[in-house]
């Protein structure tokens, strides 16, 4: 809803402060990076490989989050796992949002290590310094965003649509597939993009679990993008890292731009009406 009058300053001032606090540091970075190798970073094959691997791993992690998270969010939203157990499961699923991501990396590292009681089963799983490990770390830290986003949208979707479907002869699985998922396509896509964006920005867990990605076909040894920038900073200093940091900032805006485009789609409002 738009008002013909100018909004009061009591709202505009906090908004302006928020924008300054969030945007100014990034704008400063981008402005300075332009003079310190931003253009060269976009042409650096090692950096582009790191961006490619990071976006691919983050995309896979977001896809896995969608595959597992949509039915999980539905089960929680519709009370299929009821009572206290449902509340506990929801808290567990959201826990990675509050766990420091370095700890998430250590936890994932330990799970398949000889120290783990699960080593006899997971010991063969190569997750240290591999694309699989990178994807798992991305999934661990970002999938809760997907579950909470879709669950919130399910809360706005009238459950009587599902009852209508059941009364027309569709079972619970068919109702989920033909009524719930299509009705949620907007929120699912938005949550996917948000999860993807969050995974791309991950650093804490992958610096533990997947600092280097070894033996990737065609790419050889690659650093995940955020680690690449960190490594450039560690080895070459601020001025070497600046160009890469600016370029990664530009790349990381892609999912957010796509997200805004999806939000502007007209079918979004009808899907959860």
């Amino acid at each position: 809803m738009r008002t013909p009058h100018r909004p009061p300053l009591v709202f505009l001032v906090p908004l302006a402060i928020l924008i300054v606090l969030l945007v100014v540091p990034l704008a400063v970075l981008l402005g300075l990076a332009a003079g310190y190798g931003l253009g060269a970073a976009f042409l650096d094959p090692a950096f582009l490989a790191s961006v490619l691997v990071t976006f691919a791993g983050a995309g896979l992690a977001a896809g896995l989050a969608a595959l597992l998270g949509t039915p999980s969010a539905y089960a929680l939203s519709r009370g299929l796992v009821g009572g206290r157990l449902g509340a506990v499961i929801e808290a567990v699923l959201l826990a990675p949002l509050t766990v420091p991501h370095v700890i998430a990396g250590i936890a994932l590292l330990l799970t398949s290590s000889p120290l783990s009681p699960l080593y006899p089963f997971l010991g063969g799983l190569r997750i240290v310094d591999t694309f699989l490990g990178l994807t798992l770390a991305f999934f661990f830290v970002s999938s809760p965003l997907f579950v909470s986003g879709v669950k919130e949208s399910l809360g706005k979707m009238d459950p009587r649509l599902e009852l209508a479907s059941r009364s027309l002869g569709a079972g619970p699985g068919e109702t989920f597939r033909r009524v719930v998922v299509p009705g949620l396509r907007g929120p699912i896509l938005e949550s996917f993009l948000l999860t993807w964006a969050r995974a791309v920005s991950e650093f804490g867990s992958i610096v533990i679990l997947a600092y280097f990605l070894l033996g990737l076909p065609l790419l050889g040894t690659v650093l995940p993008a955020s680690v690449f920038v960190f490594n450039a900073y560690q080895v070459g200093g601020l001025y070497v890292a600046l160009g890469y940091a600016g370029a990664l900032l530009v790349f990381s805006l892609i999912p957010l731009i796509l997200l805004q485009a999806v939000k502007a789609r007209p079918w979004r409002s009808a899907s959860t009406a």
Binding site: R160, L163, S165, L168, G169, A170
Partner: protein
């Protein structure tokens, strides 16, 4: 199909329906009336299988369906607000039911014709008026070839002209196909639609 309740009870929050003993003969159009909170919608939900009773049995003909899920009951439900699937066109909504296999376009057209809704076939629910949505929703219910039709205040918020036309069409269809109808209403004029009337108050049958 006969609907039969034997000693059915259902508690929802502080409200309790029953114990109810009820028999609705096959093909009968019965109108349920009663004040708010009388238990009319709860009764419909028990017939539809959206709720299971705390005690008692629900039978369709001789079959005990007390624990049967909604999709096994052949009881189509029409809610008080239109519940068309928003991502589908009217025709796709009408063709939705998987109960008797895929519906041919001719079947869809004929279901729409019964409710005078053929011109709406390509529209999305968001483009329909309440009356149009109601026609489409009832066409969808009829296309699923139900043995029982459950109407929960289906003509609320529809203008009187539409209301009379839709009600007459549904009544004629139900009679022709011997569909047993339970119709919850707050409107006195709907009582005339019924072969019989069931009055509920405080979860019990008054008459």
């Amino acid at each position: 199909m006969e609907i039969r309740f034997d000693g059915v009870r259902k508690r929802r929050g502080g409200f309790e329906l029953g114990p109810l003993d009820l028999r609705v003969p096959p093909g009968e159009y019965r109108v349920l009336v009663g004040p708010n909170g009388a238990g009319k919608t709860t009764l419909l939900y028990l017939v539809a299988g959206f709720l299971t009773p705390d005690a008692g049995t629900v039978r369709f003909d001789a079959a005990d369906v007390t624990a049967a899920p909604p999709e096994r009951r052949q009881a189509a439900f029409v809610f008080s607000e239109p519940m068309l699937f928003p991502h589908l066109t009217v025709a796709e909504n009408v063709a939705f039911s998987p109960r008797h296999g895929p519906l041919s376009p001719e079947d869809v057209d004929s279901a729409l014709d019964l409710l005078g809704a053929r011109p709406l076939a390509t529209l999305r629910p968001a483009e329909l008026s309440t009356g149009q949505a109601r026609r489409a929703e009832i066409a969808r219910a009829i296309a699923s070839k139900p043995r029982i039709l459950l109407l929960d205040e289906p003509y609320a918020s529809i203008d009187p002209g539409d209301r009379q036309a839709i009600a007459a069409a549904v009544k004629a269809l139900a009679a022709e196909r011997r569909i047993t109808v339970l119709h919850v209403s707050h409107h006195d004029e709907d009582v005339a639609l019924g072969d019989a009337v069931l009055r509920l108050r405080d979860g019990r049958i008054e008459s």
